[in-house]
Subunit: 469 residues, 2 copies
């Protein structure tokens, strides 16, 4: 090797080593510094927890949510009722002195249920409890009367395709967990139409039932004929299945006035506590304000929306203003396909580098265990310390796989994201049914959720640096 | 003491001692003999248990009950449907070769629900889920519209008597166990009428709710004005309570077509296996065949009626004919006030000395633990040994305080009586609601109940002596 070459090589190696050292040391020290900074928040965390669970904030969120859902009831996208509820939230949050309170327009689907019924005419006269599925078309005015074919899966339907023509297909698909079984709510209509069926009735996607239908959105395929579709109770699906097993001929008359009207304008509801130092950097917390048109939407997702509002309210009441802006967004039109959050993402994604951390709570506000989190290894290390601040209320678990939902667009594009880990084993007992009311909520447990939501949000928003990506 | 006197005294003492000895020795030896005899039934008990739970009898009772309730649905007293169901049972049991199968006429009340609704008009329009209570009168055709007074107890109603005039009184009475809380279903109408209220709505008497109303019989007082009365869901009672607490004016329009029609003739359904040695002596097992006019009446009391039929069926299939007659009685019109069983008692009480043992199952046919029993100390000692024959299925518990119900008339008059001790903690989740369907029943658990019912019945009916009183 020539001397010049050797010199250049050695210099390059030295520089490379220095660069690598710089990267490694800088990273390690930055994360350690951030983790050490988190420790300093234990007093503030305790202050938030005490204020929320035994202090002046105790019971506030439950009372506020009860006032809200009792006043407005259910709030489906497209309804005047949802817009009135949004107006109420905007006015209430403005009056309370939150900052930058405003609505952001969203174009949303407008499906209306109308009157509906399913009557078994053979082997005996029986009124079947049912609910049309969101986006379903209606039946002819006189209803639609047809013999029933009962199946347990799409595979079975395919095998029995020659028996399906002209039939109402009943899916008694069992329950294998929501993410799996919801496919029958989503696709039963199009799969039934493919084989010539005239309507589909699915067993409600619920883990337990006391004769409640559980509605939800469903998806047509534009290339396949649209047919009416509804859910029935677990109990009736099982009865029809037993009847079919005995070889009994079953005839049902289905009547649905359901209509898909032109889209209307709704709003995402936004409120903030502006950051003291980096007001353009944002920690976003959220839940959705719309619900199905049954029950009160107290659990899905009144709870999630209201702990997000309440986190701002607690900071305000305690005079806590973090360095970064905390923004609560109460999404509209989640139930009809994440419509509000999707349009929000499209509008704001240009500023994605300013989004420090995004969260949604949409899987219950029962007893909290901690946070479900997705982020880099470094961000996870920091978050682990953040939830450790919640040891006095036993909510220190950091698990992976946050629900995503309305904030999934941000998480998929690299923003650290979280959701509320809580004791929600009974969530699908009530989900999308008349059973979703204040009676499933506990004031005490909601306070604990608020404490978790507020501590995590405030600390992340107040750290010197944004969470590492 | 004179010699004669002394002689007489000593003789008297000796006789008294002999008599006492005779009584004591005779009793003790008789009971011991009966207990020893019970031990000899372990092989037969095992045979019954095996046949019912893993043999040819496995699943029979569930299948039979499902066929029955799917075919007839709910079966309220006074309805044609109940009489059709009774005909079906008589025909089926005759065809199966059971003995002395017959109906015994009973005069029963004939209440019909008709259309009904409760609509909240203020503070917002909301359809309240409701069910009229049995025996309630209807409202005027155009309905009855009135402001609401919410109370939590009869005491509170008394205190607020001056606010009740012209109001619909809503009772949000909490749940303190069925025997206590059912008082509000029974008496809310008459207590409301006393203070000038125009109708009463009670919180359903249920230990858990997913927005289900739970109906049931209610009692007017002939000296107090009759007003319409209905149940609403736990959730809605709590909502109305919260609204009232806020000082919100609530107005409800109640519409009920309910009618009390003239009594009609129904039947208790009777079937037997005649005793081989003492055919006039009877072990009576029972459940009721009528139900409320909602749900399927699968739990209340299809299960109890069908394990009683099935006990006969199992004996028949195994060729077991006990010394005494085993009589299954499937009561009519239990739900409207133990009407069928009361008339049966009046007709048959002349033979009460021939009734060895009476049982009813009307509190669920879930996983059995044993028998609830009431009888003399001696009878209890014998029964304890009888249930010990059930150790292979862990159903050896003998507890006191049987439910009574339809067989209470016999028990109150000294006949040893029992009921099924079972894992019925969720019974009042489904009771008298649309949730009472086959979906709450388990084929496996019903087989276990049949095994308990059959072993206990057969052994008692086959002992050399009747149970001591």
């Amino acid at each position: 090797m020539a001397p010049l070459c050797s010199l250049l090589f050695n210099t390059a190696v030295i520089y490379l080593c220095l660069i690598l050292k710089g990267v490694i040391c800088k990273d390690t020290s930055a994360i350690n510094k951030q983790i050490e900074q988190v420790y300093e928040y234990q007093d503030i965390a305790n202050k938030i927890i005490n204020f929320t669970t035994i202090g002046k904030g105790k019971g506030q969120v439950y009372t506020r949510l009860a006032d809200f859902v009792d006043t407005f009831g259910s709030r489906i996208a497209g309804s005047k009722n949802l817009e009135n509820a949004i107006d109420y939230m905007l006015n209430t949050m403005k009056k309370a002195g939150l900052e930058n309170v405003h609505g952001e327009n969203v174009t949303v689907p407008h499906w209306v249920r109308g009157n509906e019924s399913a009557t078994m005419l053979e082997p005996r006269h029986y009124k079947i409890a049912m609910m049309g599925l969101g986006s379903s078309i209606g039946t002819p005015e006189q209803g639609l009367t047809a013999e029933v074919l009962v199946v347990h899966s799409f595979d079975e339907l395919t095998k029995k395709a020659d028996q399906a023509k002209g039939k109402i297909v009943v899916f008694n698909q069992g329950y294998e967990g929501y993410p799996t079984s919801v496919a029958y709510r989503d696709y039963s209509a199009k799969e039934t139409a493919k084989v010539g069926g005239v309507a589909s009735l699915i067993r409600s996607v619920a883990s337990f039932s006391i004769h409640s239908p559980h509605t939800g959105w469903q998806d047509y395929d534009d290339n396949i004929k649209k047919i009416p579709t509804a859910c029935i109770t677990v109990e009736d699906a099982e009865m029809l299945d037993r009847m079919a097993n005995r070889g009994t001929k079953i005839v049902i008359r289905l009547k649905m006035d359901a209509k898909n009207l032109p889209p209307v304008t709704s709003r995402n509801t936004v409120a903030e506590i502006r950051g003291s130092k980096y007001p353009d950097e944002v920690v976003l917390i959220s839940g959705h304000l719309d619900s199905w048109d049954v029950g009160q939407g107290a659990m899905d997702d009144g709870g999630g929306a209201f702990i997000s509002w309440q986190a701002l309210s607690i900071m305000q009441q305690l005079g806590l203003r973090p360095k970064r802006t905390v923004r609560a967004v109460l999404w509209t039109a989640e139930e009809v396909g994440l419509v509000g959050s999707q349009q929000y993402y499209q509008r704001h994604k240009v500023n994605i580098s300013n989004y420090d951390f995004v969260m949604e709570s949409d899987m219950g506000t029962f007893k909290p265990y901690g946070i479900q989190f997705k982020g880099s290894q470094d961000a996870t290390a920091v978050m682990k310390e953040v939830v450790s601040l919640l040891s006095s209320i036993n909510a220190t678990t950091l698990s992976d796989d946050p629900e995503g939902g309305d904030v999934s667009f941000w998480i998929q594009n690299g923003v650290p994201g979280g959701s509320l880990l809580n004791e929600n084993q009974r969530y699908f007992w009530f989900h999308h049914s008349d059973g979703d009311t204040m009676s499933v909520q506990s004031s005490y447990e909601m306070d604990l959720c608020v404490a978790v939501w507020t501590v995590v949000t405030y600390v992340i928003a107040d750290l010197d640096e944004m969470l590492p990506r």
